[in-house]
Amino acid sequence: MEPEWSRVKELFWAALERDPGQRDAFLREACGTDQSLREEVESLLAADDRPASVLQRPPSLLDSSRLPFTVRPGQRLGAYEVIREIGHGGMATVYLALRADGQYRKRVAIKLVREHSEADEILRRFRTERQTLAALDHPNIVKLLDGGSSEEGLPYLVMDYVEGLPIDQYSDSHSLTITQRLKLFRTACGPVQYAHEKLVIHRDLKPGNILVSADGAPKLLDFGIAKVLNPELSAETLLVTRTDAHPMTPHYASPEQVLGGPITPATDTYSLGVVLFELLTGQHPYPLTISTPQQMLHAICASEPHRPSRVVTEANLRRRLHGDLDHIVLKALRKEPEQRYRSVAELADDIGRHLDGLPVRARKGTLRYRAGKFIRRHKTEVGAAALVVLAAIAGAIAVHRSTVMQQQLRAQGAMSGPNAASAEPTMLAVLPFENLGRPEDEYVADGLTDEVRDKLTALPGLQVIARSSSAQYKKTSKPTTQIGQELGVHYLLTATVRWEGESNPPGARRVRVSPEVIQVEQGRAPTTKWAQPFDVEWSDLFQVQTDIATRVARALGVVLGAQAQQTLAEVPTRNPIAYEAFLRAEAAKQSSDPLNLRRALPYYEQAVALDTGFVLAWAQLSQAHSIIYVNSTPTPAEAEAARRAADRALALAPNQADGHLARGLYYGAVRGDHVRAVAEYTQASRLVPGNAEPLFPMATDEMSLGQWGAALKHLEQAERLDPRSAKTPWVRGYALLWLRRYAEAIRAFDRGLALAPANSSNIAGKVMAFLGQGDLAGARRVLDSLPKEIDPASLVALMTQYYELEWVLEDAQRTLLLRLKPADFDDDRGVWGLVFARTYALRGDQARARAYADSARRSFEEQLRAEPDNPDRHAFLGLALAYLGRKTRAIREGERAVALLPVTKDAYVGPDLQRQLARIYIVVGEPDKAFDQLEGLLKIPYYLSPGWLQIDPNFDPLRGTSRFERLVAGQ
């Protein structure tokens, strides 16, 4: 007799709760004589120890290739008789068929589209493309012969039948060497280039479409077919899986295909890059052990491919791939189409150069790209000016979610009677939420912190410390009381966040947030004012943000009107996937390094593609483009993208500060139109009066306009609103330096150092402030007592490349300087060479000075080929030429630099170019022209002063003349 089920259950659970060792005794006792009951429970317990594997993993879908065919052997398709199936792809099945209309017998391959619904559309596209495709006549391209539709209305395409193996299989089965593989691959590039010249893009290059026939000739299949079958592939297709679209082989798809960007020949270059990577290493550039479309998208659009040499283990192979081949493959695989080879022919050519032992083209670009041009240019651009630009950008990019809601709420707060108005605002700091999950999911905690802080910032009756001030407490070990004291607040909001991310199936992607408001007071133990854990689905994240903000406000006694509650509930987007993409972008960004920004771009694009009304994402997208434009190769496309995205943000929300901030950056940084930039920032500032963010970039544009008073006012205002921000004081220091208010400048730099002891710019600024007062000893004292956080090598590099301060260095520091490598100057051989040339010239070692100047010259000339209108490169080149005694060209370059960016165009950067021109005149022996420049410089805001000129040996050649005496006398 079957034992009673309820009894079995009861005993099973009871036994499970006991130690395995005691279960026997327990069951013996409990079952008594009922042997079958005991056996039943025992066997279940045994099964519990070894659960069936099928239950331990989620079921996976089965492949459908075994499902019944739609076409049977022998069946006719038009003039063709199907012989057998030879393959099976994303949306089509391929058959071997025979043309059998009595005229001649010819073997063909027929691609039959299985999807009914799109038949008409596919046929229409086929007819459109047919002429173009039929015109492709190349020995390595498999010809498209015909097209039609089956009796069932399924479209099919007919092409030449080729017997061969996919290029990767062929290479493996014939044990081809790397050189042979490269030659084969290069041959395969030929037909692709040919088709590009005929304006046909393949769109779906992969080993399966590059067959190698028995005689070793590559044959390319399916040219342009992807356009007929599958005109679009977008982020949405992949993410939300629109069932009416058909993803293409994602292994070989380029970022622009995945993101729905424009398809160009560079798309094929990318796919070829993946194929080449696989041919050389046997592996895919990205670990595509991924199961969700999001991971797929992420890999293609955001993760950097490994170097081919890094993924192979065999030492000889690794050596073979290291260098040229790494560079070639990575250049083909750039995320941005314009960063790849300009054509497939160029790729093939570079492989040829490598095979011939010639230097490859890819290397140059790679170095520049990887070296972080941004950093290099910033450190070298135009003296101190660069740093301010950098700071401006960093400021603008750290823009907060400043929305119209702040304005509304403040207005409401002001009107809600004497209570609200008279109450002293409660001060609160939102500390960075702690990520308890995987390190790579940090962005969720960061995003949550920002959102909650922004919501709280918008509330009247609550004053919240700005992000830039509280961000420093990330992973801090400081006691809360001390933090409270440093920030001047009585309440801290902290939280831990655990996000069970992509490792879990989407049904179980939960976010756990445990926020806590801590009350801190001097001399008292901190107390918990409020704490409450939340455990929600990802899609409920917005609700949690609102809930936390609301409850924190309530806990702090802030009265929330209906309006406040409603606005608190506003969300940046209603689409959780778009929001996740946005957070990823913000996390990828990290700094304003173009490399990071380029990683962030696809996420922003994804975010706005999924939610076209996502204002903040549009604004941030625009800013990223602007910064890339400024700090990487400036292209019109980048500028246009920046403008478009900013306009979009503004059109969507004209009363939201974000769009204005984005447009301000576009005008200021991309267009150099500081007037309009300031106008945008002013508008932004009006919309969010309590927010420091617009003020900072506004001030730097004002400096460029020569509006020093306004700039200082806004910087001071920003410092009040955001007292812990380290960047404001030192930028203010530089403004004061230009105004020759040296004592105040030193105080500003000291404040900057207190907030950011490792920031060398403060040291350099201080040194310059002493020099401005003619106090060389004071300057040296600064260098003698460096804070321990300062890295001497980077300080020396910074001082020399930015500010030409070699002459201030003491012996030990100068020795250190001459040991530095180009790598210490961000791999810029030009700047490195010029610094060395100047240093040796100061020592009187003319031979070495010339040698380094020549190396600098070559580098700057090359850099100018990429950016012909870069003013500081012209100035640098001019000085290098001056050391080489090439007077006429030296002067021409220096004058060109000044003409490109005169003081009238930029009151901050312009003077520095003018000083460099004066240096050139001095070196080439044109003292009068040098005086002309210097006399002008002493009359306008700039750090040079009579006192400085007296102690700076670079001006020695001018000494003893009456003009010099007048100059240093301040006349």
């Binding site: 069936a52 492949d63 399966g208 069932t243 199936p505 179980a508 899609s539």
Partner: protein, 204 residues
């Protein structure tokens, strides 16, 4: 797709959550169709390593169908509850067809070149056998203990968490856990003993 807007679907979910069985009747065909389309779509995926887990499919169907913003997580759990049954049906149906195709009418053994995409046949076969065997065992378990059967379905075919299952079934999470442990043991034993399904599911 038959025109039910996300809002309408959300409303149906709510109604059903409040006990309206007619809402469920309206909901099922829509969800089934959507799941089927998604599954079908993925089944045509070109590369075998891109098969998608059905729980992910359910999630996607949910995202596509429901106006997620207006849905509480309880509504969501109910949706997943419905989807679990449907997903099971779809999967098992595929598995059976797969087996049928394998055994069917002397279909010629085809040499699939990697060039044109193929599947890892052997792995598929095993998975198909496993799934059909599990489905049968699960039906037997459901006769013995309907609640355990339902829990397995929700957990296995829809990827619901313990808390969500508790919500769908109106029982405590602790009960869900206990029932699941028992169901798992029972099924494991049944699969190991079962000679049905051909291949044993012997585990090591």
């Amino acid at each position: 797709m038959a025109g039910l807007s996300p809002t309408a679907i959300t409303q149906l979910l709510r109604d059903w959550g409040e006990g309206d069985q007619q809402a469920l009747d309206q909901l099922i065909p829509v969800v089934y169709r959507e799941l089927h389309r998604l599954a079908d779509h993925y089944l045509r995926g070109e590369r075998p390593d891109h098969t998608l887990e059905p729980t992910a499919l359910v999630h996607e169907a949910y995202l596509r169908l429901a106006d997620w913003h207006g849905v509480t997580w309880q509504n969501r759990a109910h949706f997943f509850g419905v989807a679990a049954q449907l997903m099971r049906r779809i999967l098992v149906d595929y598995a059976r067809r797969h087996r049928a195709a394998k055994r069917g009418a002397g279909a010629p053994k085809i040499t699939l070149s990697r060039a044109l995409g193929s599947a890892e046949e052997r792995g598929d076969e095993e998975a198909a056998e496993d799934l059909v065997a599990l489905d049968e065992a699960l039906s037997r378990l459901a006769q013995l203990d309907p609640r355990q059967g339902r829990i397995v379905e929700l957990r296995y075919f829809s990827g619901l968490t313990v808390e969500e299952i508790a919500e769908v079934l109106g029982i405590s999470p602790a009960t869900v856990k206990r029932e699941w442990s028992m169901a798992r043991a029972w099924l494991s034993r049944a699969l190991r003993d079962g000679s049905r399904g051909g291949t044993g599911v012997e585990q090591s």
